[in-house]
């Protein structure tokens, strides 16, 4: 089991504790864990991709690269991919518009939604979080995991991962 899947399991367990009268702390930690599950799934995949480029695939290198990813930057990239926007350097030269594969859109939508949900769960304590709300966020993370499994070998997915670090460098004003 990876850290990502362990976190997803933890989210499930927390959300299902005390179904009649769930504690806010459990629901909030559940949503937070669901976000971090998806974050680690994608950040580790991106780190492995960069490490492989350097001929390294050991755990220490992957872990160091994983730490370099910024959450907000990953959310920004996800928002762009949802709208089928690419950095200028990667835009197709033909008049054909780039269309992000549906599974990748599902992953990007889930990342943006869970990022915001995690912010609300951890910091906006004035807004009660309900059990169904938490369950749906966890379900969203599970669907994103499944979609990622299907799309991760595509060039589109590799480009998405690379953009976590390189969006600004590739988004040069023409």
């Amino acid at each position: 089991m990876s850290l990502a899947t362990d976190l997803l399991d933890q989210a499930d367990q927390l959300a299902k504790q005390g179904p009649k009268h769930p504690k806010q702390a459990n629901l909030r930690r559940a949503v937070s864990a669901a976000y971090y599950a998806l974050f680690h799934l994608l950040a580790e995949a991106a780190a492995r991709q960069f490490a492989a480029q350097c001929g390294r695939s050991d755990g220490v290198t992957v872990s160091r690269i994983t730490r370099s990813f910024a959450h907000a930057e990953m959310k920004k990239v996800s928002d762009k991919f949802v709208n089928s926007e690419l950095p200028t350097a990667l835009q197709p030269s033909t008049i054909d518009e780039y269309q992000v594969p549906n599974d990748l859109i599902l992953v990007a939508v889930a990342f943006g939604a869970l990022y915001q949900a995690r912010q609300d769960a951890d910091y906006d304590t004035g807004k009660p979080l309900t059990r169904p709300e938490a369950l749906k966020q966890i379900e969203k993370a599970k669907q994103a995991f499944a979609a990622w499994e299907r799309v991760k070998v595509t060039d589109d997915a590799r480009m998405y991962l690379a953009c976590f670090s390189l969006w600004d460098k590739w988004n040069i004003k023409r």
């Binding site: 709208n83 943006g112 004035g126 709300e133 749906k136 379900e139």
Partner: protein
């Protein structure tokens, strides 16, 4: 701007000023509650209570709704403009102003639309969904604002019905059915396509009726 101004003025006059982030938990506002909030004093019977209304700003409403709102504003203004500031408002004038004003407040539905832009977007979403309105969808609530990375966004709270055999799996299945139809519609009208959907049940709303605004 006029839409925002009208929205703000009605909300202020109707004493429904609440922090914008409580829209998801706001109790449903009934006609009785609106009437009660307006109270027995007559301070709200002024032109300012509907200032900013321009019919053209409400092109997003159905013709019937727009016509009803325009008529209610006009009826209210007849009373407000006819008041003599040196005289007390009579009970007849009060009643004449109350009916259209309650209609206006009811139509703006401050319990379901957190701000003027959310009202505009929400109405458009609801119209586009009308033909495919899921039997599991009780109602929607909307709010606009900046998200945690300061990007403009739309929040939609989806209240799922709990009729029949009901458990977590049923809730998730119903939410998925609604999301499949709702997401593309909301995405098409949300600022920069950024939309956050939150799924709750109708009993979640009942549970939070006592939450102070």
């Amino acid at each position: 701007m006029a839409l925002e101004e009208f929205w703000r003025n009605v909300r202020r006059a109707a004493r429904l000023i609440r922090p914008p982030n409580v829209v998801a938990d706001s109790p449903r506002i009934s006609v009785d509650e609106i009437t009660e909030r307006l109270g027995t004093d007559d301070l709200w019977i002024t032109r300012g209570a509907v200032a900013g209304y321009v019919e053209a700003d409400f092109a997003f409403l159905s013709p019937e709704e727009r016509d009803r709102l325009t008529k209610a504003v006009a009826q209210f203004l007849i009373v407000a403009n006819g008041l003599d500031p040196r005289q007390k408002v009579t009970s007849a004038q009060f009643a004449q102003a109350l009916h259209p004003y309650v209609q206006i407040v009811e139509m703006l539905a401050f319990d379901r639309y957190g701000d003027a832009e959310a009202f505009r977007i929400g109405k458009v979403v609801e119209q586009k969904l009308a033909a495919n309105w899921s039997p599991y969808l009780d109602h929607l609530r909307f709010r606009t604002g900046l998200d945690s990375t300061d990007d403009p966004a739309l929040w939609v709270w989806v209240f799922v019905t709990e009729t029949g055999e009901y458990d977590d799996a049923t809730f998730l299945a119903r939410a998925d059915v609604i999301e499949d139809v709702l997401r593309p519609v909301a995405w098409s009208v949300a600022p920069e396509g950024r939309v956050y959907l939150h799924f709750r049940t109708t009993s979640d709303l009942l549970d939070t009726q006592g939450v102070p605004a």
